[in-house]
């Protein structure tokens, strides 16, 4: 079986999906322990499994509301409950 050249595909509003012959390494050049032949690399910076995607990009960002716009009782919650 021939090795396939690695491809990196950017999915809209989502991660980079890597297929083919590749190796993901840490900053010291050590291969990261993922046994998957196709991986999703985080593009939003919010994954808890970086460099791999864990779906966090779908969660709304916490909104920063200027103080003078806050209602007097409570601040607004961060994002939508799920």
């Amino acid at each position: 079986m021939t090795d396939h050249r690695a491809t990196i595909q950017a999915y809209p509003n989502g991660p980079l999906i890597v297929r083919g012959d590749f190796e993901v390494q840490d900053h010291l050049g050590n291969p990261l322990p993922n046994a998957r032949r196709t991986v999703a690399l985080c593009r939003c910076g919010r994954s808890a499994l970086k460099p791999f995607c864990d779906g966090t990009h779908k969660k709304p960002m916490a909104r920063r509301v200027p103080e003078h716009d806050l209602p007097s009782d409570n601040g607004q919650g961060a994002g939508r409950p799920s």
Binding site: Y11, P12, N13, G14, P15, I17, N34, A35, R36, R37, T38, V39, A40, A48, L49, F52, C53, D54, G55, T56, K58, K59, R80, P81, S82
Partner: protein, 337 residues
């Protein structure tokens, strides 16, 4: 696995056919079933009919899988199931343009509108409740990926390759111990549950079975290949975040630490699968067969509707200290006396 105990005339009749036992006409009119989705008898009858296409039963005699009487009965049950499902599902009222299918799926799955079962399991569920959840889920996960695999021969080209890409992972990328169904069995053992296929079948109610029966139904009908693709996409697209929570909850209630591997694996795997399912499977399928666009969205909506209904009923039962599991057989027999 042997045929399960019947729950009414429909499941009793199906069981008789499977075991080649003499039986008269079925003593229940399917048109009289109030709600096929939650009907314990109908859903078990359907489950048994479909199971003949999966692992079968040790006490099956002859070739019940293609028995015409059984297929006729199954078709009637499916019609009722579909009718009740259409009433429950809330698809968009406008026709979806094929190019918009991935976006429509993203919108559907971004706000399910349902209660958060996964958050409850993460932080509040008792050990017993977590075990109950796993028992319900075992009805699907012990045959994980098989129901969606029916669509493979029904697709062509890029969407077929995309489905294979997802399923290849689900089946452990060629490694039996890494099959997701095997990882789930390990997770069950890590909670002290019995991991044998079919062991808890008698305990799970109609709605739990319906969540898998719908996939078998869509997958076994060529006409519904679009809906099967949409169902898989919704399934994958609502997986990563809940699985992260399930893993935390599993560890919190004392599940054996490395047996949470099932949930950990799904967080990363489904981050890939949801993209492939939405764009490469459903998006390309809609491009190739534009008439399937609405079906794709319907399948996704059906997946979410059943998931939400289950979550709502389970949380409601737990809030009043109850369970959705059917009583053990010994309890049922004692109650019947």
């Amino acid at each position: 696995m042997r045929t399960p105990a019947p729950r009414g005339p429909l499941s009793e009749h199906v069981r008789s056919i499977i075991r080649s036992e003499p039986s008269e006409t079925c003593g229940r009119n399917i048109a009289d079933v109030d709600d096929a989705i939650t009907d314990d008898d109908l859903q078990l009858a359907l489950w048994m009919s479909y199971e003949l296409h999966y692992r079968g039963f040790d006490d099956a005699i002859g070739d019940a899988e293609w028995d015409l009487d059984l297929l006729r009965l199954r078709a009637e049950m499916e019609r009722q199931f579909l009718e009740d499902l259409r009433r429950t599902v809330d698809p968009p009222t406008n026709k979806v343009r094929p190019l918009d299918v991935p976006d429509a799926l993203a919108r559907l799955t971004s706000d399910t509108g349902g209660p958060s079962l996964s958050r409850y399991l993460q932080v509040e569920a008792s050990r017993g409740q977590f075990e109950e959840f796993v028992i319900h889920r075992s009805a699907y996960h012990l045959k994980e990926a098989d129901p969606h695999s029916w669509a493979i021969p029904r697709l062509t080209g890029a969407s077929k390759a995309a489905l294979i890409e997802i399923q290849f992972d689900e089946y452990g990328a060629g490694s039996a111990p890494r099959m997701h169904s095997e990882l789930f069995r390990y997770a069950m053992r890590g909670l002290g549950l019995d991991d044998r296929y079919g062991h808890y079948l008698d305990r799970v109610p109609g709605l739990t079975l319906a969540m898998t029966n719908i996939i078998s139904y869509l997958g076994l009908h060529h006409r519904w290949r679009g809906a099967l693709a949409g169902h898989l996409a919704a399934f994958e697209m609502t997986s990563s975040a809940p699985n992260r929570r399930y893993a935390a909850g599993y560890r919190r209630v004392g599940g054996v630490h490395d047996a949470a591997l099932f949930y950990d694996e799904h967080v990363a795997a489904d981050a890939v699968h949801e993209q492939v399912a939405a764009h490469d499977l459903c998006g390309r399928l809609a491009e190739c067969e534009p008439s399937l666009a609405d079906d794709i969205v319907f399948g996704a909506a059906a997946c979410l509707a059943l998931d939400n209904l289950f979550a709502k009923k389970l949380l409601c039962a737990w809030a009043s200290g109850q369970s959705l599991l059917l009583p053990e057989r010994s309890e049922r027999m004692a109650l019947a006396l």
